[in-house]
């Protein structure tokens, strides 16, 4: 299912801005230089449906099939409050296109969001764990909405079909429709590469994301920070960009960060009251974060996870919970002085407060491993 991410992403942003922005025609979108930042509009009016005999209608039908699978997937997060929060944010950004977009929150510990040409948007829990405030979430959602509004996936499909690999495109799309949400990751990456947007499309989507931030008075510098944080995490375990589902189809984080930073700098003077919406975001994620952290731990990408936890610690939100998971990394890795380090993290977690009850079980296991049965029993 995750293979649909790219196609889905392309459409979403274009919808949101329709009617409120001037049209930017042509393929080159300037994001630096002295000229005004262009404002974009959607490729179609709200509620517009493609001709049933068109290739776009065919593409939508494939995604409709995939969406039916999403609705019954075990990976679907059905928590009403979290769904309401994200759907409200999508509607705030997409405005008159809101009714065309359905949001599905997927429990999958990877940084990913997708948007189908039929309006089905996926937001993965790994992304929710990594964005740090509402402004950053709005950036990603806005980017995806932008692809949708501009019908980038349709453009891409036509381009691929017209050039070389049309059959492969449809084979992958059809196969993807039958794949579970995170079942065939390799297939999804392959599809992501095949359906990758071109640089202008990505810039357009970024520009939409930026415009959404400015329009709703979110701090525009938050957009670049997403990519900065992602890069930090990747560097921690020497990962290359190609391993990321999201990055397989997107420009590299450094390039993305620089572009978005330039946009923010050029917008700086025109914005009056920026906000990040961090408190609202933390409140929405509070009761889910432990589950998402546990999912990350079970991936056993310890170095990357440790880097993520260190970044989250800087926000100071429920640090006891974060330090517990730092301890868990060391306990499970169990190399060299890992047990002593785990114990230090657990002790600090208890001091900080907010650590889950499982900390006592883990401390018991560390004591047992360290040859301290009496302490293990006490834990």
């Amino acid at each position: 299912m995750s293979g649909f991410r790219l196609l889905a992403l392309t459409g979403a942003i274009a919808i949101a801005l329709n009617g409120c922005l001037t049209t930017q025609s042509g393929s080159t979108i300037a994001t630096d230089g002295d000229e005004p930042i262009p404002r974009l509009t959607a490729a179609a009016a709200p509620g517009a449906r493609p001709n049933l005999k068109s290739d776009e209608a065919g593409l939508r039908m494939m995604y409709d099939k995939a969406e039916a699978g999403m609705q019954t997937s075990g990976a679907l997060i059905r928590d009403p409050e979290l769904n309401q929060y994200i759907s409200d944010l999508v509607c705030k950004l997409a405005k008159e296109y809101c009714a065309e977009i359905r949001v599905y929150i997927i429990r999958a510990p990877y940084f990913n969001a997708t948007m189908g040409p039929n309006g089905a948007m996926q937001v993965w829990s790994g992304l929710l764990l990594r964005v740090r405030n509402e402004a950053q979430l709005a950036t990603v959602l806005g980017h995806e909405i932008g692809h949708y509004l501009k019908r980038h996936s349709v453009e891409r499909m036509r381009n691929v079909v017209a050039t070389s690999n049309g059959l492969a495109f449809f084979q992958l799309a059809m196969a993807g429709a039958g794949v579970g949400f995170i079942g065939a990751v390799g297939q999804l990456v392959a599809m992501a590469e095949l359906t990758a947007y071109n640089r202008d499309q990505e810039r357009e989507a970024d520009l939409f994301g930026h415009q959404f931030l400015v329009e709703h008075e979110y701090d525009p510098y938050q957009a670049a920070k997403i990519w900065e944080n992602l890069r930090e995490e990747q560097k921690a375990d020497g990962d290359d960009d190609s391993k990321s589902l999201f990055l397989a189809s997107h420009p590299l984080p450094n390039e993305r960060r620089e572009t978005l930073d330039k946009l923010a700098q050029r917008t700086d003077a025109s914005v009056i009251n920026w906000e990040t919406g961090q408190d609202r975001y933390n409140a929405a994620l509070r009761k889910h974060r432990k589950t998402y952290l546990q999912d990350e731990l079970q991936l056993r990408r310890f170095d990357r996870f440790e880097a993520l936890l260190e970044m989250l610690l800087k926000d100071g939100v429920n640090t006891g919970e974060l330090r517990f998971f730092l301890g868990e990394i060391h306990r499970l890795r169990n190399e060299g002085s890992d047990m002593e380090t785990a114990q230090r993290h657990y002790e600090q977690a208890l001091k900080d407060g907010g650590a889950p009850a499982e900390i006592y079980r883990s401390m018991g296991q560390v004591h047992q491993k360290s040859g301290m049965p009496a302490k293990a029993k006490a834990s």
């Binding site: 075990g74 429990r107 995170i182």
Partner: protein
């Protein structure tokens, strides 16, 4: 001649298709050795295929109901062998020094690495397995197709190895369908020449 060529082509195609099928064989209701030390006696017929480190038994089809009988995990062994190199690299390895809680974590994490989602551990209880002090814990998860699965893992450490069976099936109907057969089989488990 044209018909003959078409027949040859069809036969060749069929051969190729069949070559990709899993190789199952019949398990009859009599004592069966899973490995040198480990045997069970089913009370009904099953279908089985063999993988590296385990036998997979089923009556209704693997995606609906399965019983994995592991041959005995030693130090450094992984529970599952995955084609995806990165996931296999991150698959936890068994150690004979693991506590029961760590064995539970080992199995849950192995499930996650093999694409199960929403893995939730349930009741965890001590239990005799093949005459040895062992454990059973219940688990639910969703498979890669989104099907909700219910199951349990039961086993014991013996002779420096971990002997486990993993029984699971679709929560709706199939998990319960052959549960009595599975329980009877587990009661029949024997670990030969092993000291607990």
């Amino acid at each position: 001649m044209k018909n003959l060529n078409a027949t040859k082509f069809l036969a060749f195609s069929l051969l190729i298709v069949l070559a990709g099928c899993q190789q199952y064989s019949l398990v009859q209701a009599e004592r069966v050795s899973i490995s040198e030390n480990f045997s069970v006696e089913p009370d009904t017929n099953w279908n089985k295929r063999t993988t590296d480190g385990a036998e997979i038994w089923t009556i209704d089809g693997e995606s609906l109901q399965s019983l994995r009988l592991f041959k005995g995990l030693g130090d450094g062994d992984t529970l599952f062998k995955l084609a995806n190199a990165e996931r296999q690299e991150n698959m936890p390895t068994y150690s004979d020094t693991m506590s029961l809680l760590e064995i539970r974590e080992f199995i849950e994490t192995s499930l996650v690495q093999s694409n199960a989602t929403n893995v939730k551990g349930g009741v965890f209880e001590p239990r005799k397995f093949a005459g040895h002090d062992g454990f059973r814990f219940y688990v639910t998860f969703f498979d890669k197709n989104g099907l909700q699965i219910k199951g349990f893992v039961e086993g014991a450490k013996a002779k420096g190895k971990l002997f486990v069976v993993f029984n699971y099936g679709a929560k709706l109907y199939y998990y319960d369908k052959h549960l009595k057969n599975v329980e009877n089989m587990i009661q029949s488990a024997q670990i030969a020449n092993a000291q607990s």
